[in-house]
C-alpha cells in the first residue's frame, strides 16, 4: 500500500527561506534510507504559494474563480511530499516518525495519508464491477 507523507508549509517555507544545510543533509540521508529499504516511490518539494494559483467554485455549477497566491493559512499549505510503498499502516507511521522535523522552530508538521490503491481492490467483486462500468463508459460497448 502507498502512503503520502505530506510536509506542511511554514512561515519560512512560504517566505522562500531555504532550509539549513544541516536539514538538507538530514533529509538527504533520510531519502537514501527510504531508497535503500526499497520503499521510496516519489518525493518532491513545491514552490511557495506566492507563485500558486487557486481555482475555486464559490457557487455550485457556477464559473470557476481564479485567485493568485500567496495564500495565508500556512498549516493548510503543502510544502512537499514523499510517497512510499509499504506493507502496513504501522510501517508507514514508523517511517514518517523517522523523517527529520521538516522546518524546526516548532512549526514542523507532517501529515500521513493513504493513497487509494486499485491493486488492493482487485479481489473485491463490487469494486471490479464499478471498474468494468467505468471501462465501458470510456471505451463504448465492447466489440464481440
Amino acid at each position: 500500500m502507498r502512503f503520502m507523507m505530506i510536509v506542511k508549509g511554514t512561515s519560512d517555507s512560504e517566505a522562500g527561506v531555504m532550509p539549513s544545510e544541516e536539514l538538507v543533509a538530514a533529509m538527504q540521508r533520510y531519502n537514501e534510507e527510504l531508497a535503500k529499504a526499497g520503499v521510496l516511490v516519489a518525493a518532491d518539494g513545491l514552490h511557495p504559494t506566492s507563485s500558486a494559483i487557486r481555482i475555486s467554485y464559490p457557487e455550485a455549477g457556477g464559473k470557476p474563480k481564479i485567485t493568485d497566491g500567496p495564500f495565508t493559512e500556512a498549516k493548510e499549505i503543502i510544502a512537499g511530499f514523499t510517497m512510499i510503498e509499504v506493507k502496513s499502516k504501522e510501517e508507514a507511521v514508523e517511517w514518517a516518525l523517522r523523517m527529520p522535523d521538516p522546518h524546526g522552530y516548532g512549526e514542523g508538521q507532517i501529515e500521513l495519508r493513504q493513497i487509494f490503491d486499485m491493486s488492493d481492490l482487485t479481489q473485491d467483486p463490487e469494486m471490479l464491477a464499478k471498474e468494468q462500468a467505468l471501462r465501458e463508459q470510456l471505451e463504448g460497448p465492447r466489440r464481440t
Binding site: E32, M83, E85, E94, S119, T122, L128
Partner: protein, 430 residues
C-alpha cells in the same frame, strides 16, 4: 499502547530493521544463520519489553545493541557455543569479541553481501527464494507459505536447510568480482524475477495475481538498484517490474478473467510506475554497456507503455528488440514472441511461417501459448476451422482455469464465425 497495537508497531519496526540488522550481524559473526538467530533473539526481547516501555527512540540501534550482547553472551558460554557450532556444522572458525565490537562498514554493502549469500548458487531455487524473502523481506515463514500456497512446515524446513548449507559450505559473505560477479548477480536477479513472476502470473489455482510476491520482488529490486547502482541489469530488471506492475489493475476483468495487453484500458495504467520504469531503463542505458536480457525485455515493455492506443504500438521496433533478445538469451519462447511482433508489423502470414517453424521445438512441447498464437494468426487469416482447433488444443494444454476459459471462448468465437461464413452472413474484420 494496547498489546495488539504494540505488536503491530513492533512488526513494522522489524520490517524496517530486520534486513539491516541481519546484514550487519552476518558481517560480524560471518554466518547468515547465526546472524538471523541473534536478530530473532533481539526481536523476542523487544516483544517482551516494548509493550511496557514503549518503542525506543532509535529502535534499530536498540535491537543492534541487544543482538550484539547476545552474540557476546554466546561466545562466553562455551557450552552453548559448541552446540551452535555443531548445529550449523560450520566450516569456518567462530567470530571473536573483537569482531562484534568492530565499527561496521556501509549498510548498502552489507545488504548486498547478504543478498549475494541468500541467493547463493549452492542453494536450490526454492531455498534461495524462501531465504531471501525471510532475511531481506522480513517475512515470516507463515507469510512465505501463504504467498507460495505451500504448507508452513515445508517453508520452515527449506529455510533451516538453506541456512545449514550456507554454514557448512563456508560460503563467504562477500561481493564477488569480475566474471564471478556476473554469475552471482544473475542468480540474485533470477531469484527476484522468479518471485515477481510467481506473483504476476500465478501458475496454480484460480487467481492471476498474488500481490505480496510482486510487491516484495519490486521492493527488493528497488533496494538492489540503490546498493548496486553500477549494474545495468539490476536497473533493467527494476524497469521491467515497474512497467509490468503499472498494468496491475487492468489485467483482470470483473469476474477475475484475464484481459490481454491489447484489450486493456490504457487510461488505467499507472503512469507513476511507467515513469519510474522508463527512468530505470534510462539508468541501465546510461551505463554504456550492451543491454542484457532484463533491460531488453524492459525496453519491449516500454514500447507498449509508451503507445497511447494499441494502434500506436511500434511493432517493428518490438520485433527488432525481440531479435536482440533472442541473441542475448536464445529461447524458443522469445522466438514465439518475435513471431507475434513480426506478424503485427508485417502481417499474419509471415508470423505464421515463423510459428510453424517452431512447431517441432521440444522446449515448446506442452507450451499452450504456441497453439494459442497459432490460432490467433490463423483467425486473422480467416482460416477459422484451423484456428478453432488450435485454440482447443491450447485449452487442453494449460492448468490455469482462467486461461482454459479464455482459450475455449476464443475457440467458440472461431466456430461461430466459421458457421457465419458458411451462412454467407457478413464477417467482422479484425
Amino acid at each position: 499502547m494496547s498489546g495488539r497495537a504494540a505488536h503491530r508497531a513492533i512488526d513494522a519496526v522489524w520490517r524496517i530493521e530486520s534486513a539491516k540488522l541481519i546484514a550487519r550481524l552476518a558481517t560480524m559473526v560471518r554466518d547468515v544463520g547465526l546472524a538471523e538467530d541473534l536478530a530473532q533473539d533481539a526481536l523476542l526481547i523487544a516483544l517482551e519489553r516494548w509493550p511496557e516501555t514503549g518503542i525506543p527512540d532509535n529502535p534499530g540501534a536498540w535491537l543492534m545493541t541487544t543482538a550484539k550482547r547476545r552474540a557476546i553472551d554466546l561466545l562466553r558460554r562455551n557450552k552453548l557455543r559448541d552446540r551452535k557450532y555443531e548445529e550449523y556444522g560450520r566450516a569456518s572458525p567462530l567470530f571473536t569479541e573483537d569482531d562484534v565490537e568492530t565499527e561496521t562498514g556501509e549498510i548498502g554493502d552489507e545488504l548486498l553481501r547478504l543478498i549475494f549469500a541468500t541467493c547463493h548458487p549452492s542453494l536450490s531455487r526454492e531455498a534461495r527464494v524462501a531465504l531471501t524473502l525471510r532475511l531481506l523481506g522480513g517475512l515470516t515463514t507463515d507469510e512465505i507459505a501463504h504467498a507460495y500456497l505451500v504448507p508452513e512446515p515445508t517453508v520452515a524446513q527449506r529455510i533451516v536447510r538453506a541456512k545449514k548449507t550456507l554454514s557448512a559450505s563456508g560460503v563467504k559473505l562477500d561481493v564477488p568480482e569480475g566474471k564471478e560477479l556476473e554469475e552471482r548477480l544473475s542468480s540474485v536477479l533470477e531469484v527476484v524475477y522468479l518471485m515477481y513472476n510467481e506473483g504476476y502470473s500465478a501458475t496454480a489455482g484460480g487467481s492471476w495475481i498474488r500481490p505480496t510476491l510482486c510487491q516484495e520482488a519490486l521492493r527488493l529490486g528497488r533496494m538492489l538498484a540503490e546498493v548496486a547502482p553500477r549494474e545495468p541489469e539490476v536497473h533493467g530488471l527494476v524497469a521491467l517490474m515497474e512497467i509490468q506492475s503499472s498494468r496491475f489493475k487492468t489485467r483482470v476483468g470483473p469476474s477475475g478473467e484475464p484481459i490481454l495487453l491489447m484489450d486493456q484500458n490504457r487510461a488505467l495504467w499507472d503512469r507513476l510506475l511507467i515513469r519510474r520504469g522508463l527512468a530505470a531503463l534510462e539508468r541501465a542505458r546510461s551505463l554504456g554497456r550492451p543491454l542484457g536480457p532484463y533491460a531488453l525485455q524492459a525496453a519491449i515493455a516500454a514500447c507498449h507503455a509508451q503507445a497511447l492506443t494499441p494502434g500506436d504500438t511500434d511493432w517493428a521496433r518490438i520485433a527488432a528488440l525481440y531479435e536482440a533478445l533472442s541473441r542475448a538469451a536464445p529461447s524458443p519462447v522469445v522466438e514465439l514472441n518475435r513471431a507475434v511482433a513480426i506478424a503485427m508489423a508485417f502481417g499474419p502470414a509471415i508470423g505464421l511461417q515463423i510459428v510453424d517453424q517452431l512447431a517441432d521445438e521440444p522446449a515448446l512441447k506442452g507450451y499452450y501459448l504456441l497453439p494459442s498464437v497459432r490460432g490467433d494468426l490463423l483467425a486473422k487469416l480467416g482460416r477459422m476451422e484451423e484456428a478453432r482447433a488450435a485454440f482447443e488444443r491450447a485449452a487442453s494444454m494449460t492448468q490455469n482455469l482462467r486461461e482454459q476459459d479464455l482459450m475455449r471462448r476464443r475457440a467458440a468465437e472461431c466456430a461461430a464465425r466459421d458457421a457465419g461464413d458458411k451462412d454467407g452472413s457478413p464477417r467482422e474484420t479484425v
